[in-house]
Point group: C2
Chain length 235, copies 2
């Protein structure tokens, strides 16, 4: 089961059998409920995680108790591995925001593999490069897109790609307050932004269900001022 | 001369001689004036750069002509290397914002070294991890710090570390419009923010020269709401 999940992931796919076994033999699959704290900022980190299902929030807490969301990630994402380059300490906290199944692997296996297997080091570089691209887009979005456009971008990246039809119904993956925080906006800015996006693109909102009647329309409104080439997919 | 510059940099320091020679034998040192475009977004990239002196702006241009600043970096920083993980294309543009001396190295040397020398792959991972930390702080700053606090943070990170005295005079490294854009704010927000920071911390501004009479004061105002441990230095 664990090996099957691993080989479906870009990081582990097509690895030679001995290297894959080094990871799978010490990996554990676990289910975690909403609210579970998996990593705690500034504490030693002895494992890294691969998300199989669910959503995980990566965040930082500041001295005065505020919380800054770094990212909210789902399946196929890896986290915790950056502790290797931070004196084996977490530079952020990680919490389950929707019930999740995760594969947890001792970080020393990854550390040894990076040193011993150039292919693993290369894959690790690709993981970090992908994360860097996500962050670049996030910073760009905050600089030049307004709130409704940032929400539109968030929705489009939830749509299963390749797009098979122009009309799509999707469910918000986690609660609206967290989506707002993830997009760097206050809850009321998010509500106003969503209403404005509705005006511009005719989306239909029912609770956490959103119907996009025309992907083309939301694309025209959202992607026209982006540096990425459409369709960018979810990084 | 080139080898001397390389071995002072964290990425090349203490490398074995054959590996270092692979880089230095094909590296060129060049001076570039303000305004020179070094990398152009979405074009093939055959070199990467190490900044010896000066300041470089990394940015993205959007379809409607807006510009989003990703980072403004100075000496010891490397850029252009991410093309290796982006089909050998630049995912951003790079422009000289203050006259710069740069070392330019063919990217295929780095590519081969990453595959052949685990130590190089590891150092590359450290470079990317450091960049990720810079971006995490940037996103955190935009989430929870107000404009004067973000300017205070910017100024503190310009102060030479370790801090030898509480009173420091420093020069803004590039023009205020770009500093504002780098911090994700409009020019007028920057001006108001700087005036407010002056009120709170008694800094003295004369053109591009800023005197900080008390580092402790600016730290109390700026760092109290940060997730980083003081002093964070410049990442």
């Amino acid at each position: 089961m664990i090996t099957e999940i691993l080989i479906k992931n870009r990081f582990f796919k097509d690895l030679d059998t001995p290297t894959l076994e080094k990871f799978s033999s010490q990996a554990r699959l676990m289910s975690q409920p909403k609210g579970m704290l998996l990593l705690s900022q500034d504490t030693p980190c002895d494992s890294f995680y691969l998300i199989h299902t669910g959503w995980i929030k990566l965040f930082k807490q500041t001295l005065d108790g505020s919380e800054a969301i770094i990212d909210v990630i789902n399946d196929t994402h890896i986290f915790g591995e950056t502790a290797l380059f931070n004196d084996h300490h977490n530079s952020f906290s990680a919490e389950v925001v929707e019930p999740s199944e995760l594969i947890i692997i001792p970080i020393h296996i990854l550390e040894t593999a990076i040193h011993d297997t150039p292919e693993i080091a290369l894959r690790m570089l690709k993981v970090m490069s992908k994360h860097r691209k996500r962050q670049d887009i996030e910073l760009e979005n905050r600089d030049i897109k307004n709130a409704p456009q940032r929400i539109g971008c968030f929705l489009m990246r939830l749509c299963p790609y390749p797009y098979e039809k122009d009309r799509i119904t999707l469910h918000l993956p986690y609660d609206k307050t967290l989506i707002a925080a993830r997009l760097g906006m206050k809850a009321e800015t998010f509500s106003r932004g969503l209403a404005k996006l509705k005006e511009h693109t005719d989306i239909c909102i029912k609770g956490s269900s959103i119907t996009i009647p025309s992907l083309r329309k939301i694309k025209d409104y959202t992607c026209a001022i982006c540096s990425m080439t459409y369709p960018c997919g979810d990084l």
